[in-house]
């Protein structure tokens, strides 16, 4: 039995609405929304906070379809393919229809992924319960190798970013012997526990975005389709013949969500390309075809439940947004991982109920008043970003109940993230490495200290062999995929030159 009252409903509603606004404004993401609003959760217990945070997550992912359809600029990376067909529909006077088709597909994707979350997380967590520190170490290594497998075209760079994140996480005191490392004397007090997750997150995901927007001149490009002109309205019969597309896309989205560090854009692209491959009318994709719109939107909302599966069963965040949720759990003293469901059965039920409620709230908040909600894309950036900056400072400062060093940390990682963007070093693998780094070290040391430092311990357990097999398979796939991509690119260039 879980507590549910007015405050839970209100928090979910606020979360969904604010999330939609963040998702709808290009340059602002669900990750940023959660990072910025995390301090609000200090005032409430984790149950109430989860309704707000999951509302922001669902709303933030869903809101991205508004600018994608109306101005052909994806509000979030996960809506990257939504505009391919949504925008042509809007241009021919079907903006409201396209938006409502996208919203309905989003609801389906969200509910489908919730079902898979409910079905697969407990058994996966039960398997993980039998893991020793050896398997736990290898699982984190596997997560880092998946980053390599899916960093298309820049496999080594993705792994480098992941291990750089691990390196940054090691700064500070080592819990086993309480000795400091890699910290200058004058920072020994502030960096005793290393860099705090929340300022790092806000720096990497909010401040970097603000700096990039500032570099681009804070230009507003939101001049798009006219919602008052309606040539063809929405009907639920628009989904006739889309059942396979809906299930396939939602499944792809959920699967991509499970893979750490892959991100929503991959879910949208993969689902769109699969829908096109299986379609009997692929030539219509990109011209305002309902199938493509449904594929993209069902997939990106499929992410929401999918990304929570590895988080709640293994303690590994599936995407940048769930990485921020780790921060929320840590701030409330809750450890995510194999024991999460066993030790926090009530929280597990809260997560499922909150996701269910937030998906339906998202649908009702967006479906009927979509014409009014769509106007948020007209908000000028120069008015929004100063307020976001203010919320970032509050978030960073209050992460340790008032520490100005955390605000400096946020600025440092904001500038560092901006440099990463410039040198094309991916930020998400860095963050996942940063989150998992301390555990990676802990499990490594725990594994070897009982066997006199012998590294053969990592090759002696049968479950370890299975995980090694997965690591080798993911690396082999990444090498194969990298070469295939390079060959295709070379063939494309050759064709273009010819």
């Amino acid at each position: 039995m879980i507590d549910f009252g007015f405050i839970h409903m209100l928090m979910a509603f606020v979360g969904v609405v604010v999330g939609i606004v963040f998702g709808a404004l290009p340059g602002m993401t669900a990750t940023m929304a959660i990072a910025v609003f995390l301090p609000l959760t200090y005032a409430y217990d984790l149950h109430v906070s989860l309704f707000l945070l999951l509302g922001l997550y669902v709303g933030g992912i869903s809101g991205g379809l508004i600018p994608a359809i109306l101005v052909n600029i994806p509000g979030t990376p996960s809506s990257i393919c939504t505009g391919f067909d949504g925008y042509p529909m809007a241009k021919r006077g079907e903006a409201t229809r396209a938006l409502r088709i996208g919203i309905t597909a989003s609801l389906f994707g969200g509910l489908f992924s919730l079902l898979l979350l409910f079905l697969f997380t407990p058994p996966l967590a039960r398997v993980a319960l039998s893991f020793s520190s050896v398997e736990k170490f290898l699982i984190i290594l596997f997560a880092l190798s998946i980053i390599a497998a899916l960093s298309k075209g820049n496999m080594v760079t993705g792994v480098f970013a992941g291990f750089l994140g691990v390196f940054f996480s090691l700064i500070g005191q080592f819990a086993d012997n309480n000795r400091m490392r890699m910290v200058p004397d004058f920072l020994s007090v502030d960096l005793r526990n290393g860099f705090q997750l929340l300022p790092v997150l806000i720096g990497l995901f909010a401040l970097v975005q603000i700096l990039q927007e500032a570099e681009g001149g804070m230009r507003d490009d939101a001049v798009g389709a006219d919602l008052s002109r309606e040539v063809k309205g929405f009907r639920f019969s628009d989904f006739k013949g889309q059942v396979v597309n809906l299930f396939r896309s939602a499944f792809i989205g959920t699967f991509v969500g499970i893979l750490p560090g892959v991100g929503g854009s991959a879910a949208s692209l993969l689902s769109y390309s699969q829908a096109k491959n299986f379609s009997r009318r692929p030539e219509q994709y990109g011209t305002g075809c309902v199938d493509g719109l449904i594929a993209s939107e069902a997939a990106n909302n499929g992410l929401t439940g999918g990304a929570l599966i590895p988080l709640l069963s293994l303690g590994i965040p599936g995407d940048s947004t769930t990485a921020v949720l780790v921060g929320a759990f840590m701030l409330q003293g809750v450890q995510v991982g194999p024991l999460f469901i066993t030790n926090n059965l009530d929280l597990w039920h809260v997560i499922l109920s909150a996701l269910l409620l937030c998906n339906f709230l998202m649908f009702f908040v967006m479906f009927y008043p979509i014409k009014y909600i769509a106007s948020v894309i007209k908000l000028p950036k120069y008015r929004i970003f100063p307020v976001i900056m203010l919320l970032c400072v509050v978030g960073a400062y209050s992460s340790r109940n008032g520490n100005m060093f955390d605000v400096w940390t946020m600025l440092f990682f904001g500038v560092l993230g901006y440099v990463f963007v410039k040198i094309k070093l991916p930020v998400v693998p860095f963050l996942i490495g940063f989150i998992l780094g301390k555990d990676l070290e802990k499990y490594f040391v725990d594994s070897i200290k009982g066997v006199g430092g012998s590294l053969s311990v990592f090759f002696t357990r049968p479950m370890g062999w299975v995980i090694w097999g997965l690591i080798v398979a993911s690396i082999a796939w990444s090498v194969y995929d990298s070469r295939r991509t390079a060959r295709r690119a070379a063939a494309g260039n050759g064709g273009a030159q010819a």
Binding site: R181, L211, S398, K449
Partner: protein
Amino acid sequence: MFRVTYRPSTSHWLFPPIILGILALLLAVMIVQRAIECRRTGRPFINREKMRVFEPGCDKLKLFGSVALFVLYIYAMEAVGFLTASIAAVFLYSVLFFGVERLKEIPAAIASGRPWSNGAFRSVCVSLLLSVLFSTSVWYLFARVFKITLP
């Protein structure tokens, strides 16, 4: 070869060198990959002409202004407190992001006797109003309602 020395007193220095080693190895692989690609395509390893930090059309004033203003904001919070510093910072950020160059229009607009007809004047006034409104709301919500410590 397949063994590391584990001593509790120095165990804090066991893992960081391993990670540094992996980073160095990955860096070497990236350099070799780049060298092979450059040899294959005939491009120089370091192309100074194409090396540029900022894209054409980059708004350096807004970019560096944002960072500088942020540093000032941190010092201001410690000097004059959260609310006052935030009102000033949000206002200055709004003006910076709107376009400092457009402030030149304001004296002429005031001199004309009809300042409200000028977009820049209106924007600055609205920015001032919103900075007070937002900063006070955030301060009230976090510091008073939720009892969260602010500078």
